[in-house]
C-alpha cells in the first residue's frame, strides 16, 4: 500500500480502541479522507494536539483498504486553540466543519474548492474581522454554491427575470418573480435578500452594515437551504450561539 503526503483540515475525531482516534480530514488533493491516528490519545503521543478538529496540518499518510493511517503530522496552523476560547466563534466554526464534511459525501473525491473555502473561512473566523454568524452564513451559502446548489437572491430562481423580488422559496431556488411564485409563498424583506446576496458574493461592507433583524432572517434562510439540500439538518446549527 503506498504512502502519500497532503495538506488537510481536521474535521472531526472519533475515539477508536484504547488510545487511537479516527480523524476525518478534508485534504487538498484527495477530498474527504478518514484515517487512523494511532496512540494519539496518549499524553506522550508524537501527534499531540496537531490532530484536533480545526487543525490545519501537513500529513504523511499510509493508504489502507478502508481507513488510511497517519504516519507523520506537522502543524501548519491551529485555529482550534483560538476558537475554543470564544464560544460563539467556536460553535460557528464547528458548524462550518460539519457542513464541509456533509458537502463532501464521497470519500477520496478531490474537492479543492471546498478545501480552500474552509481554510479561508477558518482564517476569517479567527481574524475577528466580521461577526461569526455572518461568516458562518457566508460559508454555508458558498459551500452550497460549490456543491452545485447556488441559490438566486436577485433574479428569479425559475425564469431568471431580473429582480429584486420579494417572494422567496427554498424549493424554488431562491427569489421568485410574481409570475413564478407559488400560492402561499413566503415573502422576505428586500434587505435580507440583499444581505444573502452580499454574503454569497463577498460584499462584506454591505454585510457588516446589515441590521440584526435582517441577519436573523438571513441565518434562518441559509439554514433552511442547507437542510433542504442535505435532506437532513446540520446537528451543530441549532447550537450555534448567534449574537
Amino acid at each position: 500500500m503506498p504512502s502519500y503526503r497532503d495538506e488537510a483540515i481536521v474535521l472531526r475525531t472519533q475515539r477508536l480502541g484504547e488510545a487511537d482516534r479516527i480523524v476525518t480530514l478534508l485534504t487538498r488533493g484527495r477530498g474527504r479522507v478518514r484515517a487512523v491516528a494511532k496512540g494519539v490519545r496518549r499524553t506522550g503521543s508524537r501527534f499531540g494536539a496537531r490532530l484536533e478538529p480545526f487543525g490545519h496540518v501537513d500529513l504523511q499518510l499510509h493508504e489502507g483498504r478502508s481507513l488510511d493511517t497517519v504516519t507523520q503530522a506537522e502543524s501548519l496552523q491551529s485555529y482550534g486553540a483560538e476558537l475554543s476560547g470564544d464560544y460563539p466563534r467556536w460553535t460557528s466554526g464547528t458548524a462550518m466543519l460539519e457542513a464541509a464534511e456533509r458537502l463532501t459525501p464521497v470519500e477520496r473525491e478531490p474537492s479543492v474548492q471546498q478545501y480552500l473555502l474552509l481554510v479561508g473561512g477558518l482564517r476569517t473566523l479567527v481574524s475577528r474581522t466580521h461577526d461569526p454568524s455572518l461568516i458562518l452564513d457566508a460559508f454555508l451559502l458558498r459551500s452550497l454554491a460549490i456543491a452545485g446548489w447556488s441559490p438566486s437572491f436577485w433574479d428569479c430562481g425559475l425564469c431568471t427575470a431580473p429582480g429584486p423580488h420579494r417572494a422567496f422559496s427554498i424549493t424554488g431556488g431562491g427569489a421568485l418573480c410574481t409570475d413564478c411564485r407559488p400560492p402561499g409563498c413566503a415573502t422576505t424583506a428586500p434587505e435580507t435578500l440583499a444581505l444573502l446576496g452580499a454574503l454569497l458574493s463577498g460584499d462584506w461592507v454591505l454585510a457588516d452594515a446589515s441590521d440584526p433583524r435582517h441577519r436573523r432572517e438571513a441565518s434562518g434562510l441559509a439554514a433552511a437551504l442547507v437542510t433542504w439540500h442535505l435532506e437532513r439538518g446540520l446537528r451543530s446549527l441549532p447550537l450555534v450561539e448567534r449574537g
Binding site: 494536539a49 475554543s84 446537528r235
Partner: protein
C-alpha cells in the same frame, strides 16, 4: 458459523467497545472452557452492577447508594468544586492525592457536531449546587482537548459573574516527554503557563 447460544454470546460480546469479531470469539471460548463457578460469578456481577449502580444525586458520580462516598465525607473541603466530564475523571484526580474538595460530573463535554449542547450536560444541577454560597472556587478539569476547552470557556463565562474563582487545570509538557516532540499548541500552552523557579 456458530449456532444458538454460542453465536448469541459472540454477538453480544462483539457489541462491547473495542471488541471485534475475533476478540469476541476468543472471549466466548475462554468462557466456555472456564470453571462454571467463575462464569456464574461474572454473570452475577454484571447483573448486580446494572441493578445497583446509579448516579450520585448530588455530584453525578457513579455510586451504589443515594449519594457517593465523596459527597458523604464531611472531611472533604466543601468550598472547592472540581468539575469533570466523566466519573472516570474523578478517579483519575483522586489518584493524585492532591485534591481534597468535592466534584461535579457533567456527563460529557459540549460537542455541537454530535448534537450535544449545554442543556444536555449537568450544568443546571451545577448552578443549583452553587446557590447556597458555600463553594468559593470552581476548578474546571474538563479534558484538555477542543471540546473540553470550549466547555471550560462556556462554564467560565457562566460562573465568573457569580463572584466565584474559576480556575482551569494547567496544561503543557507531559512529565517524561521530549521537548522536540511537543506539538506547537502544547508547547505554546507550556510557555503561557510557565512558573518562576525559586532557588
Amino acid at each position: 458459523m456458530y449456532d444458538g447460544v454460542v453465536a448469541d454470546l459472540i454477538d453480544e460480546l462483539g457489541r462491547l467497545p473495542g471488541i471485534g469479531p475475533k476478540s469476541a470469539q476468543r472471549i466466548a471460548f475462554y468462557l466456555l472452557q472456564s470453571d462454571p463457578a467463575d462464569v456464574r460469578r461474572l454473570a452475577e456481577v454484571l447483573v448486580t452492577v446494572k441493578d445497583k449502580v446509579r448516579f450520585c444525586a448530588i455530584c453525578g458520580h457513579v455510586t451504589d447508594e443515594e449519594t457517593c462516598r465523596i459527597c458523604r465525607d464531611p472531611r472533604r473541603d466543601s468550598t472547592a468544586l472540581c468539575v469533570v466530564e466523566e466519573s472516570k475523571d474523578v478517579i483519575a484526580v483522586e489518584k493524585t492525592g492532591e485534591y481534597r474538595g468535592r466534584y461535579h460530573v457533567l456527563g460529557g463535554a459540549i460537542s455541537p457536531i454530535d448534537g450535544i449542547g449545554p442543556d444536555d450536560l449537568r450544568i443546571r444541577e451545577l448552578l443549583q449546587r452553587l446557590t447556597d454560597g458555600e463553594v468559593t472556587e470552581i476548578i474546571v478539569a474538563t479534558d484538555p482537548n477542543l471540546e473540553g476547552e470550549a466547555t471550560a470557556t462556556y462554564l467560565a463565562r457562566l460562573l465568573a459573574p457569580m463572584g466565584l474563582t474559576v480556575t482551569r487545570l494547567a496544561s503543557g509538557l507531559p512529565v517524561g516527554g521530549d521537548l522536540e516532540y511537543a506539538d506547537e499548541v502544547t508547547l505554546g500552552r507550556a510557555f503561557a503557563g510557565r512558573r518562576r523557579l525559586d532557588a
